[in-house]
Amino acid sequence: MDECQSAIPAHDGDLHVVAAAHHIVKALGTTKNLSDDLRKILIDLDAHLSLITSNIDSKGGKGFVEVEERLKRVERKIVIWESDRIMIWDSGPKEVSDYLEAVDEVQTLIDSLRGLSMNENQKQKELLHRASSLLQMAMSRLEEELIHMLVKHKQQSEPTYMPSPSSQRNVVYNESVVSLDNESAKEASSKSSRSDECGEYIVDLVPEHVIPDIKSIAKVMFASDYGQEFCEAFIGVRKEALEQHFDILENGKLSIEDVLKMEWCSLSTEMNKWIWSMKIIFRVYLMSEKRLCDQVLGEFGSVNSFCFLEIAKTTILCLLNFGEAIAMGPQEPEKLLRLLDMYETLADLVLDIDALFSEDGGSFVRLEFHKLLEGLADSVKAAFNTFRVAVSSNVSLYPFPGGGVHPLSKYVMNYISMFPDYSSTLNLLLEDQHSDVASLVSEPQCGPTASLSTSCPMACHLRSITSSLESNLHKKSKLYKDEALQHIFLMNNLHYMVQKVKGSELRPFFGDEWIRKHNAKFQQHEMNYERVTWSSVVLLLKDDNPGSSSLSKSAFKEKCKGFSIAFEEVYKNQTSWCIPDPQLREDLRISTSLKVVHAYRTFLGRNPAHVDDKCIKHTVEDVEKLLLDLFEGSPRSLRNSRRMMKT
């Protein structure tokens, strides 16, 4: 502006030149098809020329007449709104552009007045003060307009595509060792969160058509050095809007103490909400907020990232703290799946978070979330280990009635059948503990020849868990006094495990070799059962002196009686036993039948002379029928059934 100062002509002769230039500028300014920039230049030039004129005038005592005139004109334009209760931007485009022009003009006048040295010129000083006052009035007004605009156009409604968190899977393992029926396990295993991923849904937090208005205010406020006021007002409204959106997601405002004391059931719900909120807040709201900040403030240097951070920070801290509270809590086995969900959610978002907060000021946020991700990874590992420990250390004091499928088997198998959904994550997190476990599971699958799916860390961990389960089941089987029931129990449970593996995503991780081996195992128990229960019974029917054609009547009677007593004993016992799987039950009955009925029929056939109703308590057909009552889990005594059969 010094050039401008030196350019002020010294004598009247030059005044004409200035006047001429002024006219040309004014004439040019009336041209309709001028670009904005050019028009601005002309306005500035116009102002300068007026000042030069007034400066020369002032020397002649006339003062800054023209400047004052112009100031008066814009003053009217600006002051008139002071008494008006209607917002300018609600009034119409003409009013808006008039107002903005007026503010521009004030700014131009101020710049020009400042450009002149303050040669103790009282008039100039006074005009500058008046202009500054006017500018303050306008800026204050614009701030108010901005807040009004932002509040009025805050998109209140939730975006419609957003499924509510309640539609998410909410089936949880609420107790640690419970039997779950397969249905609910199936339901729980459908990871719906995978399918309704919200992706990058950038929404208009403020309607598209309002953006240029906000920008126009930003532009003029920044040009007048009122950028700070703009930012504070903008941050204030947007921050509150984000917090409102966050409140709608129903995140409980929980302290760490609250979280650590929470019952698992409510905690699980909160964890679910967190997962949901993280996705919505980062993918939808923060992405959109970032875009809004860039749109509005992109032209003004780094303020956009500063404002974005200020807007986002408290909401982010809230999410962060819940995550921290979860990561530090005791890692009970039932938390494993939720923790995996949380881990996967954050792992999925972490790149977005890095991108959103890529500037220096955001390093704090980036760092904290990376730390949290590590913390959650540790929690997953810890929960996985406590799960493993729980599987092997679960102690029963009493034998499980009926020898059926133990709740622990159900719990473990249903639980791990959900792991394949998380296989890539689990493989990643269990990698470093891989070698320990691989050596524990001395199965060929873990060897170098195994296929990829059976040799991955998760597969080895899964097999180590089932082998812990197996040894625990062996321990539990020892609680039965009856050896036959021990075998039934193990047969049932091993069969259950095999079925679960075969019928689920677990299969590739266990491999055919495992299935074959375990089929053989439960079949072995099946055979052992038959041997333990029936060998002695069948032995009673055995011919003592092979060679002689038939027994004496008394010997026959004795054998018949012995068989009946033994059979009835078995019947009384084993009708209360349980084989839940119908196929397995059927198979066992058939093979028992083959063995026992066959022996009985042969025995009776060999002694046709003695066969009469008196000494034969049970006919072959009776035995065949009665065998069908075994393993139904409802104790019967033979006397009842006999009576029933007779009547």
């Binding site: 002071e82 006021e229 103490e257």
Partner: protein
């Protein structure tokens, strides 16, 4: 004093000790030495904090740099404490009386401290907001000559600043986040189609009934100096560290806007004066407590030195802008005074700009450290075979 100095020498000591432990039989002696050294360091550090000169603005009591030093010392003490507790030759000690009771209580206190850390981190966001408003005041008054426009601009920002500080305080005690509106619209009328200008304030991160003062009060539960034979064992560092933790959290809450601080000055520290290391802490507690009582009557957003300065300068400059408005102009002398005050305010803003973010990061570091120690202690308890679940 940088934290790393302490840590380096400390870690060095530990590694030497580890080797010694195997060779040496006189472990108990070593332990006694460690305990002595620990309380010596504690008393030295807090003595340094107590002797902070009030006249040097940089290190004044409860200034940002003072708080950072406090947190540094906390981290040092914490590292040393953990060393004593965990590196001991007999890890099973922590599961035996009296530690089997003291450690869970300590962990309980730790969790409460974490919530205080979060509340304070959140409160610092408000302080940042004050800083931004004060910066507007500075930008307005830095211009020369100061005219009506500048004065009005400053006044507007000052009004926001002063009411923000007051609202935060009231909100903190009333815990009621109503629609925060700045009642004065420019025309003094609030019409329906106009939105009141508004400003930000502490947003509640936790339930509305959460109270920082109660939280700290609860941290002092069961906090009694070890008696008799206990005094010479590990019970004493647990007690010392607990007192340090309570004090640090208490000081942070006194300094920085925080949810619900009624009764903060009434919190009693059960630290007997005859304990050498406790004297400086007691001294600091008394000093800050008196400050708090003075301010409590007037209402304050916090005792943070920079905030108090900001409040004082804010009020002076508010008077200045008022008189400017009234007289229409000012004398040169008044203008000079105002410029000096504005410069002082600018300096305060600069210190906030430099210090607030690092302070926030440091509180976060304290947070993570407490979490880490808690996890390690829980694991240690677990390994010792204590099957009963931790209190928290």
């Amino acid at each position: 004093m940088p934290a790393t100095d302490y840590q380096a020498s400390f870690l060095g000591r530990i590694s030497i000790r580890r080797n010694q432990v195997i060779a040496m039989d006189g472990n108990h002696e070593q332990e006694l030495q460690d305990l002595e050294l620990f309380s010596k360091h504690v008393s030295e550090r807090f003595a340094e904090l107590l002797s902070s000169p009030d006249d040097v603005p940089f290190d004044a009591l409860l200034s940002i740099s003072w708080l950072r030093k406090l947190l540094d010392f906390f981290l040092c003490c914490e590292a040393e404490f953990k060393g004593i507790l965990m590196m001991g030759n007999d890890p099973s000690q922590i599961s035996k009386p009296p530690l089997d009771r003291l450690i869970p209580e300590f962990l309980d206190r730790s969790v409460k401290a974490l919530d205080v850390c979060n509340a304070v981190t959140n409160g610092l966001e408000s302080v940042r907001h004050y800083q931004k408003l004060a910066e507007i005041v500075v930008s307005a008054l830095e211009q020369k000559p100061i005219g009506d426009g500048q004065s009005r601009r400053a006044k507007k920002a000052l009004t926001s600043l002063i009411s923000a500080m007051n609202v935060d305080d009231k909100e903190c005690s009333a815990a009621k986040a109503t629609e925060r509106s700045w009642s004065f619209s420019r025309r003094g009328v609030s019409s329906k189609d106009r939105v009141p200008e508004h400003f930000r304030s502490v947003s509640n991160q936790v339930a509305k009934n959460w109270s920082a003062a109660k939280q700290i009060q609860a941290m002092t539960n069961n906090l009694v100096p070890p008696r008799g034979a206990e005094g010479s064992g590990l019970a004493s560092p647990v007690y010392t560290m607990s007192v340090i933790m309570v004090f640090v959290m208490w000081a942070l809450v006194a300094a920085i806007p925080c949810q619900e601080r009624n009764g903060l000055s009434a919190i009693h520290f059960p630290a007997p004066k005859q304990l050498n290391w406790a004297q400086s802490i007691i001294g600091l507690h008394e000093k800050i407590g008196e400050e708090w009582k003075k301010k409590e009557k007037k209402g304050t957003a916090g005792l943070l030195d920079e905030m108090q300065k900001m409040e004082k300068l804010g009020n002076i400059l508010m008077d200045f802008t008022d008189s400017f408005q009234f007289h229409g102009d000012i004398t040169d002398q008044k203008a000079e005074e105002a410029a000096a005050h504005a410069a002082e305010l600018a300096e305060t803003c600069r210190r906030m700009e430099e210090g607030l973010l690092p302070l926030q990061m440091q509180i976060r570091e304290v947070f993570h450290r407490i979490v880490k120690t808690r996890t390690e202690l829980l694991n240690a308890l677990d390994q010792v075979g204590k099957s009963s679940p931790p209190l928290l």
